[in-house]
Amino acid sequence: MNEALLTVLIAMLGGAIRVSTPFMFVALGECLTEKSGRVNLGLEGTLVLGAMVAYATSYHTGSPWAGVVAAGCAGAALGGLHASICSLPRVNDVAVGIAMMLFGVGVAFFFGKPYIQPTAPRLGSIALGGFSDNPALRSALDVNPLFFVGIAVAALLAWGLANTRWGLIVRTVGDSAPAALAMGLSVNRVRLLSTLVGGFLAGIGGAFLSLSYPGSWNQGLSSGQGLMAVALVIFARWSPLRCVLAALLFGGAGAIGPALQSVGITQGYYFFNAAPYILTLLIMVATSSATRVSRDMPGELTMAR
């Protein structure tokens, strides 16, 4: 019994680290975008496009890190497209997000076809578990550097939003466009920049999917992770550090299903697979309120009205 529990816990640890990384990057990107007052639902498309671009670039250049950078740029490009359309008056950003999702996924699959067969060089990992004899623990602690990059980005974002002038600008634009205008800020330009950076981060998240875990490119790669990340940001109440924790939670939850099966608990695996979504719903219901708009929610978001 104890061994089984240990196996499940180690698997959850490994899953939390592995599966959370793309969530983290997409959530951080979306967090920044939403802090500036815009919702980008198109990150699912950015994720898939980033994965494809990363794999293709790594294949052609032989360098997986070049793939990561290229993925970021592709993500930024999609983000820029999203932002420029949304900056036109009377355009609904939720709808544009869904459009970008379709477009991004379509373009990724379209150009990605020739890359399903070949094998591209993958990102290496840092073996942190060398101290242990347990091969499961060693594998769980086989961490990709991007995981640490993600945490660093989260810390940077959190600090930057709270303490720098840039952070203040972004937050003002996100909380109240009239106040920002009164300060002489260009609302659209700030949002464009944050959506660009947000897209860049999401692209890197996609690169992780195809170049590290599961480390393969094909048409079924993302199962709604981009959209989940949007829910994750709400779940984390728009704090970059809480985004990291939420990503770890979702990643761990994703690993429960297979882990439980491996120790013999096999009932109802569908519900384990649906657990993250149910969890998010419950949290949303518990923490939202009909009358009070949450203090954490940037005031300019469509969702706040």
Binding site: I116, Q117, N218, Q261
Partner: protein, 370 residues
Amino acid sequence: MTSLPITRRNFMKTTAAGALGASTLLSSVQRALAADLTVGIVYVGARDDFGWNQAHAVAIQALKTVPGVKVVEEENVPETDACSKSMESMINLDGAGLILATSFGYYSPFVVDLAKKYPKVEFRHAAPLWNKDKDPKNAGSYFGYLNQAHYVDGVAAGLSTKTGKIGFVAAKPIASVLSNINSVLLGARSVNPKAIVQVIFTGDWSMPVREAEAANALVDAGCDVITCHVDGPKVVIETAEKRGVMSCGHNASQAPLAPKGFITGAEYKWETIYKGFAADLAAGKPLSNFTSGGYEVDFVQNTKFGAGATPEAQKAAMAAIEGLKAKKPIYVRPLKDNKGKVVIDKTYDNLDPFLDKMDYLLEGVTGSIT
């Protein structure tokens, strides 16, 4: 005001009659002249998924080399009305005389209804579903008993494994998947009586992240050979290779993905069947309605051995293949399921339909169906 001479009803009747007439003409031409035959094939996923669809796509290439045969392909056709329309489109707009429907869910009601509607077009479906009493005569089934190749996988894995645990990543607990799992177990136990198989179900045919998680969980649980039955085994095989364990493939050849750990793989040899269809049609012979078999008719094959297969394992596997070609049965009584109930009470011939209804895991398989 004059009324239009062509009412919609008339237009459709004429078109329908025209289409029927055209296809009648077409198939009689086929039969008489061994001339142009258009074969339409429909895939449920991407042609290059390193798995189920790729196996069909690669095999159909063999047909393209046959003179007088044209092949039209359509991929990513879901198992909804869309497949019915795709097939109809191939008949009406491309003049297809033979339709190959490669995904399980295409048959009922889509292939059956279309076969009734176009009696001069032949429809063949890649699963053993054709019922000679209820279904139209121009429909039929073709199938390879992949579990025989999985049995050979099991034999090779049973001798290659050092921990005695073989991991199996499975999509859904349906009969053909369960038969594959059980066959791996029986193959392994035929050479290594203490071997066990551990199975994890991902819940769907193609879920890369979950497949990777399952593969990792199996390795963590001590399995040192991983195999699978999912639509695209690429992720499972690559994950196994990354963890440094051995692997067995499925559906298509994944050998290039695991240069160090690949043992062998269970592959369909659809081209035997497809070439047979083309030859029959060219000679004007009617196509058989139920074409199925395993090693004894060359409908399945095993991938060439990789670096993970020891010479001993290879020898045993080749011997197993010879045995299967001679129709040596896999399911030999008595066998219990992993809940203790006796489920195989007599020795079944490898093609016995009783085995097509399998809904249990044999004793020696760790895992559960629900």
